[in-house]
Point group: C2
Chain length 348, copies 2
Amino acid sequence: MSKPRRMVILTDGYSDSHTAKTAVCLLRYRPEEVVAVLDRHAAGKTCQEIFVVGGSIPCVAMLAEAGGANTLLIGIAPAGGRIPPHWRPMILEAIARKMTIVSGLHQFLREDPEFSQAAAEHGVQLVDLRDNQERDVANRVGIREGCLRIHTIGNDCSCGKMVTSVEIANGLKRAGVDAAFVATGQTGILVAGSGCPIDRVVSDFVAGAAEKLVLANQHHDVIVVEGQGSLFHPRYSCVTLGLLHGLMPDGLVLCYEMGREAVAGMESVRLPLLEKVVEFYESAANIMHPCRVIGVAVNGQKFSEEVVSAECQEVSRRLGLPACDVIRQGPQKLVEAVVELGSKLGKK
Amino acid sequence: MSKPRRMVILTDGYSDSHTAKTAVCLLRYRPEEVVAVLDRHAAGKTCQEIFVVGGSIPCVAMLAEAGGANTLLIGIAPAGGRIPPHWRPMILEAIARKMTIVSGLHQFLREDPEFSQAAAEHGVQLVDLRDNQERDVANRVGIREGCLRIHTIGNDCSCGKMVTSVEIANGLKRAGVDAAFVATGQTGILVAGSGCPIDRVVSDFVAGAAEKLVLANQHHDVIVVEGQGSLFHPRYSCVTLGLLHGLMPDGLVLCYEMGREAVAGMESVRLPLLEKVVEFYESAANIMHPCRVIGVAVNGQKFSEEVVSAECQEVSRRLGLPACDVIRQGPQKLVEAVVELGSKLGKK
């Protein structure tokens, strides 16, 4: 992607904030690259109205309305990662318009005969963000202990781990710390420009791929590595533990969404108490490296400022940890917790 | 593989019991299918002399000495799973002799240009046991609670989980119980004739693949599912947790090898106390389903019968659990523990 990316984000029919989290994050962190969102049901509205981010960027009903765009981004992340059938004509139209197609889905564009043939005909690039050939096991060699490793974790998937990681890294940078956000998912990779799609890595090599992310970024004083899934998730706990054990973090930031009581998409599975979440993550992390939870990121997107503020105070009291909503209140408390941990460990 | 399999197992230069565990297990559970082991360094000896199993099956220096063989099995499982370079001519010779090549390595035979071209020329089948297209997440739908789910776990990799699973399943069958061994690794798949190479599954789908193993086998009264890796393994804990959470076992059997103090192949990483192993596995399993450790399988292959017997008594006292060496003493104590759990849960 050498030419500046000018994206249309395809979310057609899936513009809720959970399913369209890729779109929401790109609108938040790369709005300058977004020309429009393609969703017939939202056409005529602004992204701000639909996604509560993105300002005046328009929602459109047709590609023809998104002048100057050179890239179509598949902007949803459904469980299992497959392309909705009614999107196929829209993707084919984008290919015919010579747009690069970028996808973070498990179902690769390049393995789709129709898409790959159309792309070849029109000289178009198909970018599968989850494609990887990770084949290295973790080795515990060459890790620079001078780099402070921070990792975001959650009681569930899709609860704000990526956003919290970016906000903490940006907050550290504003405070003059040499910090970097390290991406482990397709959206984070689009935001950061690099990273590893860890949930698409063959399970034997997840810890190895996580270790390689550390080796590639440990020239910074602090790395804030995006978490994936949850140790309490019936589907994705495997990804979460491999990442946790491969990264060997010094400190964890616990993320959760206020009001959520069951696993997203699996309503029969109740979420555990936060105390239990902290305890189990610390047990799991400490198998490999001394580590503790140093703060809590409260995702209060569905509640008023007052209710969120009260929740932060209450959870801070319960867990004995700083807590804030990084979007509503800024990440300052968590940034301070990271700096304090670095001082305590003599890492900075 | 419709014709009866008559195998030569290739272990050349790697005939120690840890690296050649695939060979050892095939010699133990499928000796009728093994014509010879190919290892120049062991040539002239019997498998019994080299591997302590396999009786009079010969070790040979050349394929030509293995009359009647129709299959060459890659008989080692190195970390990272790559083919040793000096094996290439031997594999090409087997292809030229029109033998089926069976491999459990991560490096697929069919993706090797030289092997795939030779196989096409000679009309030979290349079987990659780890190849899979698992793309389903766990759904928690259709699980028959009447089936008792038993799972072997370990404090490390390569400590006897597969052998323990087979021995318990066979012991249950001898006791008249409708039980099945369920394989999750390449060697187990060769022994059982089916299963899932779980460590080669994309991480997002490990729990889903494990759940499918339950769905495919839960018509039995008891399933004994082979564990992989260890929650304490720096490389493979991801695989282990995905399997544990996807299977939702009712009971766990803890396996360990006497005398091992560090992670196999990672000497700087000490193994935890067995008490901690039990505690953490139970915490991890209980996130998804009520479960406890019901017995211990002591792998005493490096020690005398007396020393093993004393260890079993001591570990049984320490953990308050039945303990035995399933090879030295038979699996009876663990079989009884499974039957007792089934009765307690009203599952049989």
